[in-house]
Symmetry: C2
């Protein structure tokens, strides 16, 4: 096990009706809020009204930034920063899924950055110093942004999708009420589950056999996704399924699973290029790539990890030959995605090979420390097989 620092101070208020505690949490950190949200689903489910009432009852003045897109745009961040600076906002309140929360985090990092180059904060050119406190209300089990330090933002002009990680951007508190996800569409439920599974697999597939506890924790999250992904997909109002998926989504990427072992985000790096050029649904891109990525890496010398995965997550008979277990595990993963009608080929989401070179070149950087060291050639090969 490698040395590590573990520090996840986010306070989680989990379960039905926990929103009632929102006022107290905001007031613990600030006095004037920016309410950030997406396309209006929070209005449909009544959550917007609930929150506005809470803010009013607690006499917390607030401004609004609505309309944040999936694969959130830098333009939304810039708009938010402008509002926060003009109105002296001191706490950011993103209400939504990962896109909204990521946008909120960057606004939090940008407001007091002393720079007008907000895209520079996203790329790391402008250092992150003071970050406004972020309090989130989660409405989608997927990205895990509610408990982690990262924010991913898209620049549609330059086809870049990237973002920084900073401890200051980790939300101070997260309100997680599984009922808010009852109305998440089948398509987004499936994509969110694929995102979570990919988060775990990308850190679980590492070469450190000694980080044993972390691998078992990873399997716990994977088993939970497998157990409840289909159930939430088929019965959207199943509280138990939504609750387990929501909590699993946070632990998939809050950092626990990656402590003590080398980490390299490979599928996410490959998918971010797809989204940056084609603006596809992130989890759908991952569902396409993950099985091909697993197949591409499989070798005699690393089959042990696939065996762990197959036996411990998918319950495959451990007495079978190792390569057979590995291939069965990969097929089980692919079948699991297909059963939720997730796409299994790039063509299905409108992607051809015309941009493979540039996307592979960009994604291939930094993958030399992956479970199997990869470069642009490997990425292109995975894209090709995913066509």
């Amino acid at each position: 096990m490698q040395n590590f620092m573990y520090h996840i101070p986010t306070k989680v208020l989990f379960g039905r009706g926990e929103i009632r505690k929102l006022g107290g949490e905001i007031k613990a950190y600030g006095s004037k809020a920016l309410l950030v949200y997406g396309g209006g689903s929070i209005k449909k489910i009544g959550l917007y009204d609930t929150i506005v009432n809470i803010l009013n009852e607690n006499e917390i003045p607030f401004m609004e930034l609505g309309g944040v897109d999936p694969n959130p745009r830098i333009t939304s961040v810039e708009e938010g920063v402008k509002i926060c600076r003009e109105k002296d906002i001191d706490v950011i309140l993103p209400v939504g899924g990962g896109s909204v929360i990521d946008c909120g985090k960057l606004i939090a990092a940008g407001t007091r950055s002393g720079s007008d180059d907000i895209w520079g904060i996203v790329t790391g050119k402008v250092p992150i110093r003071e970050v406004l406190p972020v309090i989130t209300v989660l409405t989608l089990a997927a990205a895990g942004s509610e408990m982690d330090t990262s924010a991913i933002i898209s620049n549609m002009e330059t086809h870049e999708k990237t973002g920084p990680s900073n401890p200051g951007m980790r939300p101070k508190a997260a309100i997680m009420d599984p009922e808010y996800t009852f109305t998440v569409s089948k398509r987004q439920t499936a994509a969110g589950t694929a995102d979570m599974i990919s988060h775990v697999l990308e850190v679980y597939f590492n070469n450190n056999r000694g980080a044993y506890l972390q691998s078992r924790f990873a399997e716990a999250v994977l088993k939970t996704c497998v157990e409840y992904g289909h159930r939430a997909y088929n019965t959207p109002n199943d509280y138990e399924a939504r609750a387990n998926l929501m909590w699993a989504g946070s632990w998939a990427i809050n950092g626990l699973l990656s402590k003590g072992a080398p980490v390299s985000w490979s599928c996410h790096a490959m998918e971010h290029e797809l989204s940056a050029y084609y603006d596809i649904v992130h989890g759908e891109g991952l569902a396409i790539l993950v099985p091909h990525w697993l197949r591409h890496m499989l070798k005699e010398e690393n089959v042990w990890k696939y065996v762990e995965y197959g036996v411990n997550v998918w319950g495959i008979d451990p007495s079978l030959p190792e390569m057979e277990i590995a291939n069965k595990a990969i097929e089980a993963t692919a079948d699991y995605f297909k059963a939720m009608n997730l796409p299994s080929a790039l063509r299905e989401v409108g992607i051809d090979e015309s941009k493979f070179d540039i996307m592979a070149e960009r994604a291939g950087k930094g993958l030399e420390k992956a479970f199997v060291a990869m470069d642009a050639g490997d990425v292109k090969e995975i894209y090709r097989k995913s066509l």
Copy 2:
């Protein structure tokens, strides 16, 4: 899944040589430390000198309280509070295992309590208000006190072993270097592993099937104890084994596993009476009680939980009859303890039935919410079978 609040802000610095960061952690919270330790093992392994050097190099004045006993005494806490008050100590630095850390936590809670009734803080009579920050250096994988909110203290005059839980007592930072546990004796390694297993089993055996992720997390910790307990017992200098046990010990009881399901500490309640009257090794008392507790609770209607335990932790063939899986799982647990030469009967640790009535009466309080509701009669029955 029940509603819950999750908030574990302890910063963990894990791995070889992380002690070098101690000075910075202390200075983040205070300017004058109380170094608390036990019987001197930290002097034997050189850790005492290392810490004194760090404190001196960082110009952090400090006082010392050594000689804290296993099953720490209220008298040690009182002594520590006296020193802290007289010398204006503002940060507590326990270096040791759970006993030392628990003693340090109570000193932290007592110093600014405004009361001289320190035992009143332990029993809850005197409320906990301001708690001094606690920074710990862990030298034993067992109690999990390094990341939790509790402290258990013994009063040998009144034969009471009890303690409060308060978020303020959760250590701000914990330095966890597995090498410090290389010299832990076989006996203490075994007892520590039994303590960890008991922590997990007591929350894992609950009636909420819907807290699925938590049950899988619990199995991850249990599998880690099973994998590495014997290994650390047999090869004390095995870093991987010591590291996994140390990290598992923190997660066994830091709170994650018990979120979302009803919790009732039953074996610990029963064992605390044994320690309070006979001053036995805590983990040895648990190793005796746990198998009998599991046998006592087993019924047709709750066998499903034993099946989960047997199949997922012990790898027992799921096609066997359920009751057979359950009994095999209990025997596997008992055998696991025996293989580390842990006692399996109360007589082995000098306990007869003379105090069963008073101990059962005390331990039986509050067990009506256990996996199987229990009272003093049940506890006495378990004590009897454990003779």
